[in-house]
């Protein structure tokens, strides 16, 4: 008997991406540069988060034609973003046979109360989180991979660090809780009890956990890896920099050799201009992306 789109194939696929870098690309040419640099997958989208931030307006799923072109241009997996709660965008992305859907706060949410019921889909989903409760709610809805949100399009890693520290710190606390405390904790963080108990038992999330949002340098990528994530998403950080091909390759190498400062020093040399960063406090609250979703 052959079984497709099982929990094991969905979560197992994310396992194959570990230790790797997933790069935002807006056309086939960028997708090829990313593949050549050693990306494990590309995220196909119309505008990188830095431009969404600068241009404003409603950000939606990309043109299916563009996604198709990117799928045809590379042999590595292709992911694409749907708006939070926009299950029809997700249906369209599944019909395009993208390899993963990112239900993403970088796009303008389509539903202020409900995330997509991801269990209904054959294609796997990755979702963002700021803390353990949000991560487990998304997994409960069927996400097969999690990424900490960070603050996309800023080139500032501080929010990614905050979210990763929050998730890993909570997991460490959970491993020391008694069973009665775990029931109360599940209520406090508004997460399914069974998932809370599983995380407490295993000492880690049941799915792969990448970092995202604000990673702009090889050192940023290695920092997130040392904090304990399984890999990194880099959005605006590559194609908004002075020398994308070189920076992309350096971030790939830093993600592999994240514990080797000599290699990190070597790959960080002469990369040209990084993307221009934004101080988080300088962003009006209504324009923060990480607070979208719940």
């Amino acid at each position: 008997m052959v079984a497709k789109s099982t929990e094991l194939t969905k979560r197992g696929f994310a396992q194959q991406l570990k230790g790797g870098v997933i790069m935002d690309v807006i056309n086939a040419e960028q997708a090829k540069i990313a593949e050549e640099a050693g990306a494990v997958a590309v995220m196909a989208l119309e505008r990188v988060p830095a431009d969404i931030r600068a241009q404003g307006g409603v950000a939606r799923m990309s043109d299916p034609g563009l996604i198709q072109e990117i799928i045809e241009a590379v042999t590595i997996p292709v992911m694409a973003k749907a708006r939070i709660g926009h299950f029809v965008e997700a249906q369209i992305l599944e019909a395009l046979k993208v390899d993963y859907i990112d239900e993403s706060e970088v796009l303008t949410p389509a539903d202020e109360r409900h995330h997509i019921n991801k269990r209904e889909f054959r294609v796997p989903f990755v979702c963002g989180c700021r803390d353990i409760g949000e991560a487990l709610r998304r997994i409960g809805e069927g996400a097969s991979m999690i990424r900490t949100k960070g603050e996309a399009g800023t080139g500032n890693v501080v929010e990614a660090v905050r979210h990763a520290r929050s998730v890993f710190g909570s997991i460490r606390q959970m491993t020391t809780m008694s069973p009665d405390e775990l029931f109360a904790y599940a209520k406090d963080i508004q997460a399914p009890y069974d998932l809370v108990a599983e995380v407490a038992r295993e000492g880690r999330l049941p799915v792969v956990n990448f970092a995202a949002g604000g990673i702009a340098t090889p050192a940023d990528a290695a920092l997130m890896m040392q904090l304990g994530v399984d890999g990194v998403f880099v959005g605006s950080g590559i194609f908004k920099s002075g020398d994308p091909a070189r920076r992309a390759k350096a971030i790939v190498e830093a993600t592999t050799h994240y514990e080797d400062p000599r290699i990190l020093a070597e790959v960080s040399k002469g990369l040209g201009e990084p993307m221009v960063g934004i101080e988080i406090d300088a962003i009006p609250r209504a324009e923060l992306m990480a607070v979208r979703g719940w």
């Binding site: 008997m1 052959v2 079984a3 497709k4 789109s5 099982t6 094991l8 194939t9 197992g12 696929f13 396992q15 194959q16 991406l17 570990k18 230790g19 790797g20 593949e35 050549e36 640099a37 050693g38 990306a39 494990v40 997958a41 042999t75 590595i76 997996p77 599944e94 046979k97 993208v98 390899d99 993963y100 054959r122 294609v123 796997p124 390759k249 790939v252 190498e253 993600t255 592999t256 050799h257 080797d260």
Partner: protein, 203 residues
């Protein structure tokens, strides 16, 4: 007898799952990221991951030649999924760095995209008495095998998904993800009999 030191190529992919399996069956896993990590190994596993990404890192960090030497020294080397692609002599003309060791032609992403990933049971009498549960993720398949390559497992339609050629083992599926250690035990036996043969020849 001391635990066998088995390297797991740790450039990218699910190497931690292989290391965990090896620990469970009493071997000592060694993460390999640079050439010097390849010394004093009894065997090597190349995990699943993205073969293009792993291939580029193999070149950048000068690992291809030392890994070829490890293979020609007769030490057992096993590639799963991306690892099978990297071991192959021929991947149908795609331009990627390869170890060119296993005499097979492999087709990448042969079953389609992620939506076509699947799991199934496969009888592999050479490896275990009962069928093994196998998970295929954007998996490659073996299109043809050269002389001296033994087919260990096929799908019902005859598609080749597990092969052995002397000290080389290749599977297009992921035994590291199913919690079943029989395939790792089979590889450990290859490592143990390999070192026995090595001591007999050089002892």
């Amino acid at each position: 007898m001391s635990a066998k030191r088995i390297g797991v190529l740790a450039l990218q992919g699910d190497f931690k799952e292989h290391a965990k399996m090896l620990r469970e069956i009493g071997a000592e896993p060694v993460e390999v990221r640079r050439a010097e990590h390849l010394t004093d190994l009894d065997g090597l596993i190349i995990p699943g991951g993205e073969s293009t990404a792993i291939g580029k890192l193999l070149v950048s960090y000068q690992l291809l030649e030392p890994m070829k030497q490890l293979i020609s020294s007769g030490r057992p080397v096993w590639g799963t999924c991306a690892g099978l692609i990297l071991l192959a002599k021929d991947i149908g003309g795609l331009q990627q760095p390869l170890l060119c060791a296993l005499d097979v032609t492999v087709r990448r992403n042969a079953f389609g995209r992620q939506l076509d990933s699947f799991e199934t049971d496969i009888p592999m009498p050479e490896v275990a008495d009962e069928p093994l549960h196998a998970v295929f993720i954007r998996a490659p398949l073996v299109e043809s095998v050269g002389d001296g390559v033994q087919v260990l497992g096929t799908l019902e339609d005859g598609t080749i998904v597990a092969v052995r050629q002397g000290n080389l083992l290749g599977t297009s599926f992921h035994p590291e993800l199913t919690g079943d250690s029989r395939f790792h035990l089979y590889f450990l036996q290859m490592v143990e009999s390999g070192s026995a043969a090595f001591s007999a020849a050089h002892g």
